[in-house]
Subunit: 214 residues, 2 copies
DNA sequence: TATTTATGTGGACAGTGTCCACATGTGTGA
DNA sequence: TCACACATGTGGACACTGTCCACATAAATA
């Protein structure tokens, strides 16, 4: 399985791949370039042949994440071609699922560690494409007169805020589905996917009520 | 100004205070216990007399942040006693302002570094109080029949999602106010407070449309 | 006043990101 | 085919980090 040659052959990819795994298992604050290299079985300096520094590797990992979001949204457009509302909900659900299953990747992508505006090139482009794929979903809804008229970018940003907010609370473990009374309102964890989906549906309804064409 | 005595006198407070400053200026990933200690002018081990480890100091900083949010919300209830809608908007605006001015503190509070559910004691309590102060604002609106009926906790979570999402995008520099067409839709920075407020107002409208009593 | 307790100090250790000089392959032009 | 440039990987070094330890000092207490 392991090739013993001096040159790895596909180290850049391996770094992003193992980096993502380690990010998810060890967490944002304790991930280290050296451990990634060690895991791959390569010297602690090899990564520097492919990335200028640790930050650049993190950016590559995030870029990868954004591309997957875009791809998912594009697939959803086809899968729910007749219902932009479903496209929007499933898109949200997907982001939230990522937030629940890979909270550290989610935080890397949408947290402060990485500022797409600050870095030119691939990362910024990937992030822009992700937001544009959401704008397209909004436009689908407007064309079918299911969503209110208005600047689709603003609606998309609004939707994205809602989605991000939910995802963020899920990712950071601050949301709990069952909370009947004021006294027990608290931040907590969502135990299983079914509950998660139901909860998201409920909260999403409030947002949809604001965006739906009457 | 500086007392030269062996004992600092109020080191715990100084750690939280200077820690917050350094967090905001240096950023989440490059803040260090040793530099905080150095800045205060105390040995690199002194902090360990007040916090078990770095994580606990970070939690104390976050706790402080949550308490300030709660205090702000309580003040807003009085200031806009006749308009829960204003209470809600100004509360959101405040969170978003914190996100814009102290993005690192914001990220510490709402990011994955800290999980209130995991830590008992003061931090969890402070975080719960913050969310409950928002629930109270929602209830104010329901009492005045300005907001739709329904579980106030769910509405508050929904509002919080919206607010968090906006704040997150602002904090991480992924939001830009001017983006007319699909082609130019991108993540960018918000240049000034006036624009920020206007933009938040617009996006918030979508959410309010869903929560307002008709 | 004597002693316990709270608080601060310095040294040590393993681990980190990043720089450097050097080693080893791989591909290219003569 | 061969010499050589270039891409890629290695090990050593450095400053810095979080955390542990034993020790020092001040404050509180008996």
């Amino acid at each position: 399985m392991q090739q013993e040659s001096y040159h790895h052959g596909d180290l850049r990819n391996a770094l992003v791949c193992i980096g993502t795994e380690l990010l998810n298992s060890k967490g944002m604050s304790s991930i280290s370039l050296r451990e990634i290299a060690r895991t791959i079985g390569v010297g602690h300096n090899a990564p520097y042949r492919h990335f200028r520094n640790k930050q650049q590797l993190l950016e590559a990992i995030a870029e990868n994440g954004f591309r997957q979001l875009t791809a998912k949204n594009t697939r959803l457009e086809l899968e729910f071609a007749d219902s932009p509302e479903n496209q929007l909900f499933e898109s949200a659900m997907h982001v939230i699922t990522v937030a629940a299953h890979e909270p550290n990747l989610f935080e890397l992508m949408f947290g402060g560690q990485i500022k797409p505006a600050d870095c030119q090139g691939n990362l910024k482009q990937a992030a822009d494409e992700a937001i544009q794929s959401l704008v397209r979903i909004i436009q689908n809804g407007q064309k079918k007169q299911q969503f209110i008229v208005g600047d689709p970018v603003k609606l998309a940003l609004s939707a994205m805020s809602m989605i991000q907010g939910l995802a963020m609370m899920v990712a950071s473990g601050k949301l709990r589905p069952v909370s009947q009374s004021l006294e027990t309102a608290q931040m907590g964890w969502v135990e299983n996917p079914t509950m998660l989906r139901g909860m998201v549906l409920q909260l999403f309804d409030v947002f949809l009520a604001g965006i739906k064409q009457k």
